[in-house]
């Protein structure tokens, strides 16, 4: 009984730090989506230079550890040029996560766009639409439904990855858990902390499942 009480006592502090975890995840994946749309369009464009540039970006962010990218942006960039100093740890983490998830999502978006039947682009062209118009009105809207499950997945990955920000001393759920753990000397704090992570994951799963249903009306 006492242990239960003790655990309940930690929850307010844990929930407070959950705000950082959750907001960092949401803003990062949203920015990542925008970045990735441009990367995907670049990768399927006819321009060799764009293809190479976008390919190099994706290669870099998928080929180096995320933790190192966070450190690089927070510690190394200011050394290269002092104008790149980022005072807010949150913003530094946000940039790192956005750039990183942009690279992962780009491949997902590219695959979704390319999975749309070639006939759709041909029909659009035969009706006088330009490439951009056809992409915007016909191709991208159709790929959205196929994107929902992998984007939901990306959210869940990023929630867990945000625990890395404790390494630049941002007080997220992970960091707060460790703090409680050392101050109370009780490893039981992991139980409520894990429950919070699971609750967030469950909420995202629910939202994305509903979105997928909503976008399936025409099938």
């Amino acid at each position: 009984m006492d242990t239960l009480k003790e655990m309940a006592g930690w929850i307010p502090a844990l929930l407070q730090s959950t705000g950082i975890t959750l907001s960092l995840t949401i803003v990062s994946v949203i920015c990542g989506l925008i970045i990735s749309l441009f990367l995907a369009l670049g990768k399927i464009s006819k321009s060799k230079i764009l293809q190479k540039l976008c390919g190099a970006y994706i290669f870099f962010f998928r080929g180096t550890p995320l933790l190192m990218q966070i450190f690089f942006i927070y510690y190394a960039l200011p050394l290269i040029y002092s104008g790149f100093t980022i005072k807010s740890r949150f913003i530094a983490a946000w940039i790192a996560f956005s750039l990183n998830s942009g690279a992962y999502l780009a491949e997902i978006i590219r695959a979704a766009i390319q999975s749309i039947d070639k006939g759709q682009m041909e029909a659009s062209k035969a009706l006088g639409m330009g490439y951009g118009q056809a992409m915007r009105l016909i191709i991208i809207p159709q790929s959205i439904r196929r994107l929902i499950p992998p984007v939901g997945n990306e959210f869940i990955m990023v929630i867990k990855d945000t625990s890395l920000v404790s390494s630049i001393a941002l007080i997220d759920l992970m960091k707060r858990t460790s703090q409680i753990m050392s101050s109370s000397a009780s490893a039981l704090v992991y139980i409520p902390a894990m429950c919070i992570y699971l609750a967030i994951t469950a909420a995202f799963t629910y939202v994305f499942n509903s979105l997928e249903k909503k976008f399936s009306v025409y099938e």
Partner: protein
Amino acid sequence: MSMIKAENVCKNFGDLEVLKDVNLTVEPGEVVCIIGPSGAGKSTFLRSLNHLEKITGGKITIEEKPLDDRINGVNQIKLSSKERTDILLKMGMVFQRFNLFPHKTVLENVMIAPVHVKKIDTDKAKKIAVDLIKRVGLADKQDVYPSKLSGGQQQRVAIARALAMQPEIMLFDEPTSALDPELVGEVLNVMKQLAEEGMTMIVVTHEMGFAREVADRVVFMYDGRVAEIGTPAEIFTNPKNERTRQFLQSVL
């Protein structure tokens, strides 16, 4: 004045020569059916007319307006993209596999190009669309998604969608080949009606009955060339070319 003039049109895919000096002139109101064995280049020729394929050589003129005059794939005719679109919009196209936009309702499918390409205001575009949908006999289906329609109904929507841009020429690439036999008639009837109203049409088809009944001229393509061209009577009852004779024997 000719509606379409194709002169010495050549098309290569890499080393493969798919069109070899194809010539065809289509007059206003004429219905031309293109027949021929698989791989003869019928689709490629039709797609070349509206720039879904870029030809390697030859000239294409639409309503006296030069669209292509290509040497080694390079167009000698310089048009702004607006000028080119204006010429291309004189042609509507209907595909074998319909290619309706699955995320749009029937009405939206028919309206989307007039609204976004021609920039017609929505009310007027809707009126045109509703009329066309009625004309192809689908008035009760205008708010459903294509996936809820039979193949024949989808193809009729595709015809309405192309007509909504008010083209002067309609190109059909085997419009009934993907349909169950019992659905072929409803689509051919819409096309027949269109022909009677004076639409200029080029129809790639395996429906010899349709070609015989509706076409003004029949083109037999073989191995990337126009092997024979004539009235349906000439082609079907008295073919001159040995290949035509063999082909007709195999399909009739």
